[in-house]
Each structure stands twice: as structure tokens, then as C-alpha cells.
Symmetry: C2
């Protein structure tokens, strides 16, 4: 078990990663009532283990349909209504047991229900365990805009049990590894080299071997948010690979790519862009691309039209006054945030990667 | 012009009360874009004056229908969508120009749009100017539960122009005076005595005479929230008259009473309850009741059934673990918060006031 600690301006909290992490829920006391928000498939598979380890007696979870469409204001209202019906008050606790959708929605509901109740994140996907459950960002989608509405509200505790990853579909598991790679690029050669050895061939069922991978990737997120809880400065580096990635998701109506897959493409694209503008060493670019391509099979981008993707780039909400803040890798372990990237290089990087540049 | 200052744990901000308060908007700089959320009737009547004083050039306001039904998650999503369409980003400013509905909704949207943009409250009702626009509480209603979902998020600035009160319907104006009286009970004999002289006969059009009344009442709210921004302790005193009041609103489906009218009844009821349990002096109770009854005509409560009202009391969201925290006046200038009030006294106070106790 690894115990990490987030120290941020709005509070401190622990992140437990490892077998038995859910047992930390036993130590949470003083709540008038406790609720679990989750999805029915997940609860069927893991509910008994969760209830045993939390040791709260019988749990009647609040269930939401799986999938991105649950991340809506309408669903937030429905969950708040159920909490009200079941007697939740200001001293109740909400545990979000699930992936990014449950975590983002649950965090949003908790941060706004009666103007804020405590929330524990119990993430069950790779992406959620290493990234989205840590840092206090909550969100729902509005219209076609992902995460348009949300809050910054740190959880009380994060408990990540790697053995639940065994029930992920292989594609979802592999997709999550792209976020692990992103964190390794931010972290440096030690973690990146560790991944080069461990990641290829690593499966969702490899609980023991997964624990150090998840814990080290989570540590990267913990370090960043401990230094900058809001997005103003440092935290922006976490968007590495996300500017292109979000546009890819949006242009395909969020149907073709899992989020991590879009981030995988986003990392390949930003690595090529960084090379083109002379900011990334060719050798490091090759190492990054190689690890990404050996870890996942990414859905194709060959048929996508650049003009449509380009039009979606400035809609990124990190844009201030219409500009895009590109997070560019300079080497493994260093990135730079810059708004000044020539538009033709942005297009050329897309064309190159689309035409298989990194596969040559 | 009175310039008050809120100093709270989550930031400082100014509250300007007086003729020309909107001119303070000119000093707000550094925003990528500025938006005004308001209602069409209000904008028709006051839009030109507002635009002239803010001096921002032409303003295309974001309009919402008037009335409590606009305080919903669906409307919050719609407003966020309009802001997105019009290019609002994280450095945009939202001004909520209106009464409690616009202020609560606008504050909620601002505090969650892209996880939070700056908000200015420009309140246009008595209630909003002396109470709801100050303190950073934002909210929307879910199901039948008022303010079930919301945030604590202080505004950047509050600008209260008393001359806009001239366009309020007389009933809405008088209703707001009940919140002024509530603040005077919390404040003490000086402000209460001042009101006893000034309030009866004071009309919405009496701009100059209103300014000191509004400013002194706003100061009470400023003092309370400066000491306790969240609700844990001191701020709870602001709920004086609201426990009964909310139940009256709810039992009549929010159709019979304006909020201030329900608070007026709530104050009469809590004063009688405080007398019955021996905590309030008879002379002070009489002064409180007399000022309330001379300031407004409250819609009748004669036909309401106590058992139905009683059932709604514990649903008050200030209840922790099912209890109600009663805010009881001990004298003009002193209140006590207590969960221990005999149920039969709570019922007897209602019966007494319903049967005209204070009118004798």
C-alpha cells in the first residue's frame, strides 16, 4: 500500500493506492449518513468486496447509467433529489465509486449538494486512479462542451484499489495507460524508463505488478496539484496531449475514441509538433512514440479532416481570450507552456502523424 | 454613497450602497469579456441607466424569464450554453442584475462556468440589496427543495442602487422590508429604533430616505458574513424567522407568500415561540410584532393546517441529523441558536399567531 498526500491551498488529503485501499473508509467517522454513487455493473462485480472492506453494514448504492451522458446537470439534479429523499444532510458523506464519469459527477454533486458535503473518490479505472480522482476537479458536460460546468473541490480522501482494474475491458485498460505515459513524460527518465520495461504486456489482471505503476503515476498528479490546485500555472502541464486530444474526441462526437486513446494520439501529435518547431529532441520523440504505440492499439485517424479539427482547437476552455496554451514536451521530464506556435506547424504535425510518421 | 467591506476567509470585497453605485463597474478591468444576466422587464426599465453608468459600450444582456422557476439546473445549463456561444472564457466577468433569482442563479453559473469566473452582484430588490447579494451563497432549486444545490463563492463586488427599488411593485417592496426588520432585530436597539421611526410609510420611490435604511441593513449582513462565511456558526443567526417561514412557503407551494412575507410571519411566530419558552421579554416581543405589522400587509395564514406545516419543518436544510436549529430572539439585539425547543410550544406558537395573538 502506498500512501500519498496532497497538500493544497484548500486542504490536505490522503491518496491510498494498493490492495485493501478501501479499508481506509472504516476510519471516516462523524458522518450523519453515508452514500455510495456508482454504476450497476460495477456494483454487481465489486459491491460485496467494497461493503466488506468499508465495513459500513448493508449499502444501498445510488446508481447511475454508465457512460458519458450521465455527466449532465440533469443527472446531477436527479442524484441530488435521491440524496434528499434518502435523508442526506450537510454532514453526510458521498463516496464516488467508479471511473471518470462517476468521479466527476459525484464530485460535482457533493460539492454543490446543500452547498457542499464531503466526498471520497474511490476510482476504478486507470485514468481515474492516476489522474481524474486526484486534484478536486469536478465537472459535468453542457451541450457538446465537456466539463463546461464544474467546481474545484478537493475530496476528503482518495482510495484506489488496483485489483478492480481486472474487470475493465482490455481496451479501456489500455486506453488508461496513455495517461500513465503522459505522467511519465512529465515526471522524467526514471519513471519513463521504468514504464518502458513494465508497460508492454502489462494486463489489467496483474494486480501486484500494477500497484507500483499506478502509485508512481498518481504521485505525479499529487505533486502537481499540491503545488497548484487551480489551473493558473503549473497544473496546466497536465494538459499535455489534451489540446489535440480533445479536438479528436469532439470531431468524432465522442464515439470513436476512449479518452485515453485520444490522449495517446494527442501525445503523438504534440511530440511531432514539438519536433517540428525544434523544441524536442528526435531521440526523445522516438522513445515517447514507441512507448505509446507498444502499449495500445489506437483507433485510426486517417479519415479525419484537418480543417474540422482545427476549428475545434480554439474551443478548448484552457484558451484565454481565444489563444491556445500548448503544452510542448522539450525532453522526457520537461515541458513548456506556450501560446506561440505557428499554425502551419500545428497542421503539419497532424498531417505527419495521420500519414504514419511515427510508424516508419 | 456608503462603502462597506466584507472580509471573509475566501476573500475581500466591497459593497457599494447608494445613488450611482453602478459606476463602480467602470473600475473593473482586465476581463476578456463582460456579460450581464438579467430579466427583460428590468432591462427595459433600467438598461439604459445601467449601460450609461457602467460605461461599457453597448450591452447585449443574457435574459432569463422572471420568477422562481428560473432558479433551476436546467436554466443554469442554458445560461452556461449562451455564455459559451458568445465566447465567454475563464477571464470573463458576469454581472447579475436583478433580484434574488437572478443573483442566486447568476452566482451559481459564475461559480461553476469553467469551474468559476468572477461575478458582480447588482441587486435590484430590497431583499437582494440587504441580504442575498452579500455573502457568496449561490443556489438553484431541485424538485420542491429550494436552494438544494449551490455553492459558496464570494462575488467580486456588490453594487446596490436604491433608486431601482422605485420600479418594484408595492407588495414586493414591503415584503423586502421584513428582511430589513430581521436585520434590525439582530443588530440591536439603535438600528431597530431608527426603523421604528423611518419604516412606516416609507415607499419604494423614496430613494434618498431609503439609502441609510438599506445601507444599515446591509451592514448587518456584512458583519455576520465577515465573521463566518460558511454556515457553521454565527451565520446561522441570519435564519431568524426562516424556519417557520420556509415551511409556510413550502406548504403553500411558493404561491401565496413572497419570501419576505413568509419571513414576516416567521418573525412573528418565532417571537411568540420565544415568549412561550420564556426566552423573550414581552415588551420586546410587542415591539417586534408591532413594527412588522405596521410595515406590511401579510397574506393570511388562518386556513393553514399545523400538521402539514410541522411535517415540513425538519426538511429545513439547516437541520443536522434531523434536528432543527431554532434561532430564538432573546431581546432586540440578541438571539440564541438552540435545537431544544418543546414540540408543543412550537405548535402553540403557531396556533396563537394564527388566531391573531399579535393583533390583540
Amino acid at each position: 500500500m502506498r500512501r500519498l498526500r496532497v497538500r493544497s491551498s484548500s486542504g490536505e488529503y490522503a491518496v491510498h493506492v494498493g490492495a485493501g485501499a478501501w479499508r481506509a473508509l472504516r476510519q471516516l467517522e462523524g458522518y450523519s449518513s453515508r452514500f455510495v454513487l456508482t454504476e450497476s455493473g460495477l456494483w454487481k462485480r465489486w459491491g460485496r468486496k467494497f461493503a466488506r472492506e468499508a465495513d459500513w453494514g448493508p449499502i444501498n448504492p445510488v446508481l447511475i447509467p454508465s457512460g458519458e451522458t450521465s455527466k449532465s446537470l440533469a443527472m446531477a439534479g436527479r442524484v441530488a433529489g435521491v440524496l434528499l429523499e434518502r435523508g442526506a444532510d450537510r454532514r453526510s458523506l458521498l463516496v464516488a465509486l467508479g471511473g471518470g464519469v462517476v468521479g466527476d459527477l459525484g464530485g460535482f454533486v457533493a460539492s454543490t449538494y446543500m452547498r457542499g458535503i464531503d466526498c471520497v473518490q474511490a476510482p476504478t479505472t486507470v485514468l481515474a486512479q492516476v489522474d481524474s480522482a486526484i486534484g478536486g476537479k469536478t465537472a459535468v458536460n453542457v451541450l457538446a462542451m465537456k466539463n463546461l460546468v464544474g467546481t474545484f473541490c478537493p475530496p476528503k480522501l482518495v482510495v484506489s484499489e488496483p485489483s478492480v482494474l481486472a474487470s475493465l475491458p482490455p481496451r479501456a485498460f489500455q486506453s488508461g495507460l496513455q495517461e500513465v505515459i503522459k505522467h511519465a513524460i512529465l515526471s522524467g527518465p526514471a519513471f519513463f524508463g521504468f514504464l518502458e520495461k513494465r508497460l508492454p504486456g502489462l494486463g489489467a489482471g496483474h494486480g501486484n505488478r500494477l500497484e507500483p505503476v499506478i502509485a508512481r503515476a498518481a504521485q505525479v498528479k499529487v505533486d502537481v496539484v499540491s503545488r497548484d490546485e487551480r489551473e493558473a500555472g503549473l497544473r496546466r502541464v497536465l494538459n499535455l496531449g489534451h489540446t489535440y486530444g480533445h479536438a479528436l474526441e469532439e470531431v468524432t462526437g465522442y464515439r470513436r475514441f476512449l479518452h485515453g486513446e485520444a490522449v495517446g494520439w494527442g501525445l503523438l501529435l504534440i511530440a511531432r509538433l514539438a519536433e517540428l518547431v525544434g523544441c524536442l529532441d528526435v531521440h526523445d520523440g522516438r522513445r515517447i512514440a514507441s512507448l505509446i504505440l507498444r502499449s495500445s492499439h489506437l483507433p485510426p485517424i486517417r479519415d479525419l479532416r484537418w480543417d474540422r479539427i482545427q476549428a475545434l482547437l480554439p474551443r478548448d476552455k484552457k484558451a484565454v481570450g481565444g489563444k491556445i496554451h500548448w503544452v510542448m514536451p522539450e525532453s522526457i521530464g520537461h515541458v513548456r507552456v506556450t501560446p506561440d506556435v505557428p499554425a502551419d506547424a500545428v497542421a503539419a504535425a497532424f498531417r505527419d502523424v495521420q500519414q504514419g510518421f511515427w510508424r516508419e
